[in-house]
């Protein structure tokens, strides 16, 4: 039996990253491009600079690929890299703080723009159109928890690892995010 036949997907990716296998990276770029774009938009609440951040994220994957051990899934490791880049980017622009430990703190960044938000532009279903406004005004940390849990289908532990917060903080963010969206969906009849 060959090595390739016995190793798991994360192990195969880890081996490729150790060898700085550009072909592997190209396939990962194709596979994860849309997901990274979505994550950055949910995190930053804007489409600006997202393409640059995606490119920078893959360059970091190439440079730091040796630190991925292949024992856990690749996605949390990739999103952790993306998150650090987004935080650096946000700090540079002084838009908002994703590092805030106070979940009660109001979002300090609400882009004022006459054009439609990235969520309004990307909404393809009736429900998504309902949520678009609510998402734009939601705190980035809540949006992030929602997208990682319900779109990326990561576990609470994996999300906790990515955001560097406790599992209880992550679940609290998910509850609050969901509450805000639910309120938007049914006009507030289920507000907690």
């Amino acid at each position: 039996m060959t090595l390739a036949a016995t190793e798991s997907e994360p192990e195969r990716i880890a081996r490729g990253l150790r060898q700085r296998d550009v072909a592997l990276l190209q396939s990962l770029v194709q596979q994860y491009q849309c997901r990274l774009v979505r994550y950055f938009i949910f995190l930053l609440g804007t489409r600006d600079s997202v393409d640059d951040l995606v490119q920078e994220a893959w360059l970091r994957v190439l440079e730091r690929g040796r630190s991925y051990d292949g024992e856990s899934r690749f996605e949390p490791w990739l999103f952790a890299i993306a998150r650090n880049l987004a935080i650096d980017h946000a700090r540079k622009r002084r838009l908002f703080s994703l590092d805030s430990n106070d979940d009660h703190e109001p979002a300090s960044f609400s882009p004022v723009s006459s054009t439609a938000s990235p969520f309004e532009q990307a909404a393809r279903t009736e429900d998504a159109r309902h949520l678009a406004h609510s998402l734009q005004s939601l705190q980035p940390a809540y949006r992030e928890a929602l997208v990682l849990r319900f779109q990326e289908e990561l576990s609470l532990q994996e999300i906790s690892h990515i955001v560097g917060a406790s599992v209880s903080t992550v679940s609290s963010r998910i509850y609050r995010g969901l509450a805000a969206l639910r309120q938007q969906m049914d006009g507030g009849s289920h507000a907690n």
Partner: protein, 162 residues
């Protein structure tokens, strides 16, 4: 919709959606949902909100993958060059270290023979070896590890940094 009587079940529904509900809690939740319209409504609204999150299609620049591939290829080549130069540097350091040790050994052990061969004193031979062999080797040993840093500074100063 009245929430007071159902708050604990709403909490269970939230826990279930977040993925942290226990088997026992899930069972009691299922039983409750069979008979409670209000809580089923809460679950439906939550599921609609979650489904709504999947209703966004963010457009991506079709040229982005090509740009990323090009950047990755260039960066991979730079990293490979860097790796090779680090390897060369490591070998040079080992060579300089060996030269230092061998030079010191020669100066100590074979000084007398050299002195006889060149009609010089033992001290003169040792000074000569120190000057033309040991000191340059030691200098290489000390300077080589600083080369990458110096080269990085030079590239930065010239605007060539990566």
């Amino acid at each position: 919709m009245q929430t007071d009587g159902h708050a604990s079940i709403y909490n269970l529904i939230d826990k279930s959606l977040a993925g942290e509900i226990s088997g026992q809690e899930e069972q009691s939740l299922r039983q409750h949902l069979l008979t409670c319209t209000a809580c089923r409504g809460y679950l439906d609204a939550s599921n609609r909100a979650i489904a709504g999150l999947g209703g966004f299609a963010f457009e991506t620049d079709p040229g982005l993958p090509d740009r990323v591939f090009a950047a990755l290829t260039i960066r991979a080549a730079q990293l490979e060059t860097q790796r090779l130069s680090h390897r060369k540097l490591a070998w040079s350091y080992v060579a300089a270290l060996i030269l230092t040790l061998v030079g010191s050994f020669v100066a100590m052990q074979l000084g007398d023979r050299f002195a006889a061969a060149f009609s010089a004193t033992h001290q003169q031979v040792q000074l000569g070896l120190i000057a033309i062999w040991i000191v340059p080797s030691v200098c290489f040993c000390v300077l080589l590890p600083t080369l990458p840093m110096m080269s990085k500074r030079w590239m930065h100063a010239k605007g060539l940094s990566l």
